[in-house]
């Protein structure tokens, strides 16, 4: 049966802006950036871990009608699409400081939990991102 998760997808409203954020600020690396004609296949991964990619997909035609794409965009900006990523880190507080210095908008400061120290942020579009330093 299955042996790995290789790709996950979230909706972003602008793929160039998404690259600035996910690569420029969060420090992920581009895995694939291919113009397929009908879409721009854009994936990123944690450096050194290309086995798991995140597809940064822009909602729009022909996959979605203009009207549906607009609804998706509105939900993303309300933080309601369910786009959600949880990363792990060796040092939550240090990563928080680094990202804060890069102007990242946080939703929660590093906090001790039974499962580790974690904190939360949003991407520029409204997707929910967290990272945890496991216990």
């Amino acid at each position: 049966m299955f042996n790995a998760i290789t790709h996950s997808q979230i909706y972003v409203l602008d793929q160039d802006e998404a690259l600035d954020f996910y690569v420029g600020k969060l420090g992920l690396e581009v895995n694939a950036d291919v113009d397929l004609g009908f879409m721009r296949w854009l994936t990123v991964n944690v450096p050194g871990h290309p086995d798991r990619q995140i597809l940064l997909e822009k909602p729009g035609p022909p996959a979605l009608s203009e009207e549906t794409a607009q609804q998706v965009r509105e939900l993303v900006t309300k933080g309601a699409t369910g786009g959600s990523l949880i990363f792990s880190t060796d040092d939550c507080r240090k990563t928080y400081e680094t990202l804060l210095g890069r102007g990242v908008e946080f939703t929660e400061e590093p906090t001790e939990r039974p499962y580790g120290i974690d904190c939360g942020l949003r991407d520029p579009f409204g997707n929910n991102i967290r990272f945890t330093q496991p216990v």
Binding site: K78, T107, P114, Y115
Partner: protein
């Protein structure tokens, strides 16, 4: 029109995030409207249109949810918890908690069981509805 709606949503989400983050601070409508970069007159109405409840109600439920979390996961005194989540007095805290949860903080503490899943999900899903 629609780009304007996206921009408005994002501003309202920013204000809602501020309540999730700084629920223990005194957050009033002028402060939240500044975070959202909109006028006070529009803020409450727009927030309600976006998320289905007023900012005041959202914040009250967030504070109660955080109190539920502390009652469940820590052994801090109820009065401590009241101030730690942003209520101004134990009387207001008990009354609001009971109105929303249907039980007193002490009864809730006795009956609750820890929920050991990532906080973002407990914050989103355990904020009392209705």
């Amino acid at each position: 029109m629609s780009r304007a709606a996206e921009d408005t949503n994002r501003r309202m989400l920013r204000a809602r995030d501020a309540m999730d983050r700084a629920y223990a601070q005194p957050l009033d409508v002028p402060a939240l409207a500044r975070i959202a970069h909109v006028s006070q007159a529009h803020f409450t109405r727009t927030f309600r249109a976006t998320f289905g409840e007023t900012p005041h109600r959202y914040l009250q439920r967030r504070r109660v949810e955080r109190a539920m979390f502390l009652l469940r996961e820590t052994d801090r005194a109820v009065t401590d918890i009241c101030f730690a989540v942003g209520f101004g007095s134990p009387g207001t805290f008990s009354r609001t908690f009971r109105d929303i949860v249907g039980r007193s903080p002490r009864t809730y503490r006795r009956e609750a069981t820890p929920a050991n899943v990532p906080t973002c999900f407990t914050m989103a899903w355990m904020r009392p509805a209705g």
